[in-house]
């Protein structure tokens, strides 16, 4: 049953989002503990204080990314909201698809960029937004536009938007914090060396902790990214399938993807954190080695092939 797959996907996304928040908080607290112990010269008390503070910070960040994440991502992408009069056809297409899926109408945003791309964000279907670049909007016909919008609405319907938005904000913050820590190690090295004479045993412990902290600081963001990518590739296939479930017309999306694959322009407003949200990878050179484990998006030819298979 086609219906069952998307209900499963919703449950999976909600579960993963909660899991993500948990992992994020534990990771934060763990990193805080290590960083605190290194900074405090091996004092576990200082480490625990920093760990608790880091855990609390992670919780606040989670709340922030849940409520304000979508708005932040849209602002970061320099998207502005469209009114019906500005593009009646686009609104018609989205309203039609909302009827097909029994979804509430999302807000529609446009990104002034000649590169071709689109993405969806929000925390649930009632608080959702879809964004499309002017480059993509002007180059698609009605059927193709329908396919692309149905793909984005499937992300909304599957609650991919919740997970992806939390992910984008959290990975961004994690990478940033590790960066801050690594820099502080660089500049703070001399201060720690002077404290070694006072306590020899503490010095040895400190070096061990330092190594662990360094490894963690390097590995954590990489790990986060791999999880992130492995998950979002599957999501793209499912959203393509969901698009066909709404439109019952695989050729629209297939021909839109063919047009998208021909586009070599880089979308300037996209960055590493927001890239997984887009329908195709906005930094095009990644598309070339899309088969590697680091890719957030499956190769377009593969997606088109799967769509063609639905047409028989």
């Amino acid at each position: 049953m086609a219906g069952e797959t998307y209900h499963d996907q919703i449950a999976r996304n909600k579960r993963n989002s909660i899991l993500l928040i948990g992992v994020f908080m534990v990771l934060f607290a763990g990193l805080g503990l290590l960083i605190g112990m290194v900074w405090g010269g091996g004092s576990s008390r200082f480490g625990i204080i920093v760990a608790v503070a880091a855990g609390a910070l992670a919780f606040v960040l989670t709340l922030l990314s849940y409520y304000a994440g979508p708005a932040a991502l849209l602002a970061m992408s320099q998207a502005h909201e469209l009114k019906r009069e500005q593009d009646p056809q686009l609104f018609n297409v989205v309203e039609e698809l909302c009827l097909a899926g029994g979804l509430p109408m999302p807000r529609i945003y446009i990104i002034d960029d000649t590169a071709m791309n689109a993405f969806a964000t929000g925390r649930d279907p009632r608080h959702a937004a879809v964004a499309i670049t002017t480059g993509l909007r002007t180059r698609l016909n009605r059927d193709e536009l329908q396919g692309v919008m149905a793909h984005e609405l499937s992300h909304v319907r599957h609650y991919d938007i919740l997970y992806a938005t939390l992910m984008a904000v959290m990975v961004g913050v994690l990478v940033m914090l590790c960066d801050v820590f690594l820099r502080s190690m660089w500049y703070g090295g001399s201060r720690r060396r002077s404290s070694r004479g006072r306590d020899q045993g503490g010095g040895a412990l400190q070096i061990v902790l330092l190594v662990i902290a360094l490894v963690l600081a390097i590995v954590a963001p990489i790990l986060a990214k791999i999880i992130h990518m492995a998950l979002s590739r599957q999501r793209e296939y499912l959203a393509d399938a969901g698009s066909v479930e709404l439109t019952r017309n695989p050729s629209g999306l297939a021909s839109a993807l063919a047009k998208l694959s021909g586009d070599t322009e880089v979308l300037e407003v996209a960055n590493r954190a927001t890239a997984p949200l887009y329908i195709i990878h906005p930094i095009k050179k990644f598309e070339a080695r899309a088969t590697s484990i680091f890719s957030t998006h499956p190769p377009i030819e593969d997606r088109i092939k799967r769509l063609m298979a639905l047409m028989q």
């Binding site: 086609a2 219906g3 056809q89 018609n92 039609e96 009827l99 029994g102 695989p250």
Partner: protein, 183 residues
């Protein structure tokens, strides 16, 4: 001791029954909502047609026959009673509209008219809305009917008179079923 266990089982059964009953009601409400949405979209089409006919008249007045057929089909669709009769009338209306738009290809002035382009977009959208609303009705109906027929829901459905809803018959039978997607 034994009566505590019996009571516990009874309470559990009651909770299960309440949950099942509420699920069935929710699904039935969803079906009826989806059905009324079809009517909303059909009404939208009836309202657009007089406007369209007026616009086309100004450019292609000697295509009287086609225009009259559209108006006639519209009036028949509004007057039609019963699901089967209405479906037939709606299909006729769709056909007449397709003919009208095919005809517009021969009138460059008409095609260039902004008002006509707008109406054409609105009607294309309305046609899509009608078929999507029907598709959605069939999707939620399939969900409701399945819920009614599977065990143990079927016991409760029988007891409280949950009847199966009818599917909307589509012109193309292959559109009735959602495509089986396995990725």
């Amino acid at each position: 001791m034994a009566w505590v266990i019996v009571l516990g089982v009874l309470v559990l059964l009651l909770l299960l029954a309440i949950y099942t009953y509420n699920t069935l009601v929710t699904k039935r409400v969803r079906c009826r909502g989806a059905w009324s949405q079809i009517d909303v979209q059909l009404k939208r089409r009836y309202d657009l047609i007089p406007n369209l006919v007026e616009t086309v008249k100004g450019y292609a007045s000697h295509e009287k026959e086609t225009l009259e057929r559209v108006i006639q089909a519209r009036n028949q669709a509004i007057a039609a009673q019963g699901v089967a009769k209405q479906a037939e009338a709606e299909n006729m209306l769709s056909g007449a509209l397709r003919q009208l738009f095919a005809l517009s290809e021969a009138y460059p002035n008409l095609k260039a008219n902004e008002n006509f382009a707008q109406l054409q977009e609105e009607l294309t959208s309305t046609e899509n809305r009608i078929s999507f609303a029907r598709q959605h009705y069939n999707d939620v109906t399939a969900g409701y009917n399945t819920a009614c027929q599977t065990f143990p829901n079927n016991l409760l459905a029988g007891m409280f008179g949950f009847k199966l809803e009818e599917f909307f018959e589509l012109e193309e039978p292959e559109m009735r079923e959602a495509p089986k997607v396995k990725f």
